[in-house]
């Protein structure tokens, strides 16, 4: 029984539980996706920031290089030597000297080489100071694009990132000779040096790498690999003239505040979702319980009750729930009502003698057995009368079956009336008198405990039958023989009791008074008395 109860709840609870679980999972997944999106967008923002700052730094480096070129030209010695292009030694000394001057020594520029070009951009002299660079042209694309310029454009300072020997270079080309361009000064620097300033500018650890992956600079505060979850690393690669990677800048952003914020948000969202799911579950359960579950249980209980006790069929079941169930109960009640009527009718047919409307033999034995059991339990007494009509066969033979039937009906009515008259003794009920078949009747007297009382009732009955009956306008006279047995004196079971009464009834036929009490002889004959 519990199994069904559980399964009904489970049938509802499981889907809701699953829904709740799905909601939780979707919250977690959404949270994760949002975190990824937030991190990605932050990474993108960092990349943009890095790009912006890096270009600013390179712009600044270009300005410094242009300033260096102007400062160099300011020296008339340089100007003269450059324009005459006769005194190479002086020029080399002057450009070499820049490696010991302001811009280089203060770290604003990390000079790699200074080169001098004529107005057709042919290299004619370069500094002998250099860390690694081979002599000759390093950033040919810059020279090509500078050469392609015409008119006033040729006066402008141009710069470019390029890669030579796996090392990034920043080359700035500044005109020499004022408004009448006589040549160009190429300032080649290491761009990685000024890019270190990103650390201060952005306020976060920076790592700078060459295209081959060599790290040239790493902030002291660069995070260790131990806590990858709390650091967001964004990379930005500065490209050379041909789109080749020149410098890789990495920024490390501390995202532990973001992480803890996300964690807290997720916890709050999860709690809210959990509480919501629980509330929905409870509400659905409560509603379902009151509209469906309880009415179904009620209906089921009623059906069981009906199954145990058919008489309950007549009792309508009342439930309050969803309309469908109420309709079902109404239909059930209608059906049960009809069934109850049918049962009663069937019972009537099965337990009633059609002619006299008295209980028949089946019901009589049933009653007798019940009473015997009850009296056995309560150690009380009752009397049984077996009644047989005398001369009935003659009436039947001479006046016909119809007359016989009419006589039986009248006899039944007369016995009933007589018993009802002696109600103080008999306490007449409908089932007290039965027709066992033919002209045989029987009466159970549940409250008669003494033989004398039983005999008194029998005497009254015999007397009442001896009065004339009127059948088809003719007076008809018959007699009656009654055998009396007492419970438990004459038998403790029904068969013995009936047998004793039968024997007494046969004995009575031979007497004048028409009734006889069962004797020990009768009881012995029935096999129970005196055991």
């Amino acid at each position: 029984m519990r199994h069904h109860l559980t399964s009904l709840r489970t049938a509802l609870g499981l889907p809701i539980l699953l829904m709740g679980l799905l909601a939780m999972i979707s919250v977690v997944v959404t949270g994760y996706l949002y975190r990824q999106m937030a991190l990605e967008s932050q990474q993108l923002a960092l990349q943009r920031l890095a790009a912006l700052e890096a270009y600013e730094v390179l712009e600044q480096a270009t300005d410094y290089a242009a300033d260096l070129a102007l400062a160099l030209q300011h020296e008339s010695k340089f100007r003269r030597a450059f324009l005459r292009r006769a005194d190479d030694q002086t020029l080399i000394e002057l450009i070499n000297d820049q490696f010991r001057q302001y811009f280089h020594t203060t770290g604003l520029l990390k000079l790699e080489r200074i080169q001098l070009f004529d107005s057709r951009l042919s290299l004619f002299l370069e500094s002998s100071e250099s860390t690694f660079l081979s002599r000759g042209v390093n950033c040919p694309h810059l020279l090509d694009s500078a050469l392609a310029r015409t008119g006033p454009e040729r006066l402008k300072v141009v710069s470019q990132l390029c890669v030579a020997g796996n090392r990034p270079l920043h080359m700035v080309l500044a005109p020499v000779g004022g408004l009448r361009v006589a040549g160009y000064l190429g300032v080649i620097t290491d761009p990685a040096r000024p890019l270190r300033s990103l650390e201060q500018a952005l306020g976060m650890p920076v790592r700078i790498q060459y295209p081959n992956g060599d790290t040239v600079y790493r902030s002291p505060a660069w995070p260790s690999e131990a806590f990858p979850g709390n650091t967001l690393i964004a990379h930005y690669t500065l490209k050379g003239a041909m789109g080749e990677p020149a410098i890789r800048i990495s920024l490390a952003s501390d995202i532990s505040p973001l992480n803890s914020l996300l964690r807290n948000t997720r916890r709050i969202v999860l709690s809210i979702a959990g509480m919501l799911a629980l509330s929905v579950m409870l509400i659905v359960f409560w509603t379902f319980r009151h509209t469906t579950l309880l009415p179904i249980y009620q209906l089921r209980e009623h059906m069981r009750e009906v199954n145990r006790n058919r008489s309950q069929l007549a009792t309508p079941v009342k439930i309050r729930g969803i309309r469908e169930l109420e309709d079902m109960a109404t239909d059930f009640n209608a059906m049960a009502h009809e069934l109850s009527g049918l049962y009663n009718q069937l019972e009537q047919i099965a337990y009633t003698d059609a002619l006299t409307q008295l209980p028949n033999r089946v019901l009589f034995y049933d009653r007798l057995e019940q009473l015997a059991k009850l009296c056995q339990r309560e150690e009380s007494h009752f009397a049984l009368l077996m009644i047989d009509l005398d001369k009935f066969k003659q009436v039947n033979d001479t006046l016909g079956h119809a007359a016989g039937d009419e006589l039986l009906r009248q006899v039944a009515e007369r016995i009933r009336r007589t018993l009802r008259k002696s109600d103080t003794l008999v306490r007449f009920t409908e089932n007290t008198l039965a027709r066992l078949g033919g002209d045989e009747f029987s009466a159970i007297l549940p409250h008669v405990t003494r033989a004398e009382d039983a005999e008194m009732v029998a005497e009254k009955l015999v007397a009442s039958i001896r009065r004339a009956f009127k059948i088809g306008g003719q007076p008809v006279y018959i007699g009656m023989s009654i055998g009396i047995s007492l419970f438990p004196e004459h038998g403790e079971d029904c068969d013995a009791l009936v047998h004793c009464a039968d024997l007494a009834m046969y004995a009575a036929k031979r007497t004048e008074k028409g009734y006889a009490l069962a004797t020990p002889f009768h009881a012995e004959d029935s096999g129970t008395y005196g055991d």
Partner: protein, 139 residues
């Protein structure tokens, strides 16, 4: 009382615009107005172009066009011009800080009135020069 102050304040605000430095006129009659590129073109071909920086001398530490001579507008008159420009038909150009600066316009007008014939006015001035990325010197 308060209304009175308000009126005074509004009047003061309105009159303040009168003391702002004047914007240079779009052109000066009898003078050719040119831009940076025309300046370079003139400077790169003969005859020589004489460039006159009409700003006060202190401005030159922030940068000046290479080859220009400092002659502040306040000191510009026929005498000083005669000392600076060799002949009345010499190509002479005037510039100052830019269109918000009235000095070169004033100076070139003086030069015109003094009888100089080949006058150029670089209206955009040093602002335009620097903006366009052309090289300059600093004192």
């Amino acid at each position: 009382m308060r209304t009175g102050f308000l009126i005074i304040a509004l009047t003061a605000a309105a009159s303040a615009s009168a003391f702002e430095p004047p914007t240079a006129p779009p052109a000066v009659a009898g003078v050719r107005t040119i831009d940076a590129e025309k300046l370079i073109e003139l400077a790169q071909r003969p005859p020589d172009l004489l460039m006159i920086d009409s700003r006060i001398a202190g401005n030159r530490k922030h940068g000046y066009i290479e080859g220009s001579i400092s002659l502040p507008d306040v000191a510009t008159d026929c005498d000083s011009l005669a000392r600076t420009i060799p002949a009345l038909d010499t190509q002479a150009l005037f510039y100052c800080n830019g269109i918000k600066c009235g000095r070169s316009a004033k100076a070139v007008t003086v030069a015109r009135d003094c009888g100089y014939q080949a006058l150029y006015w670089f209206r955009g001035g040093f602002e335009e020069w620097k903006e366009k990325g052309y090289p300059f010197l600093r004192d």
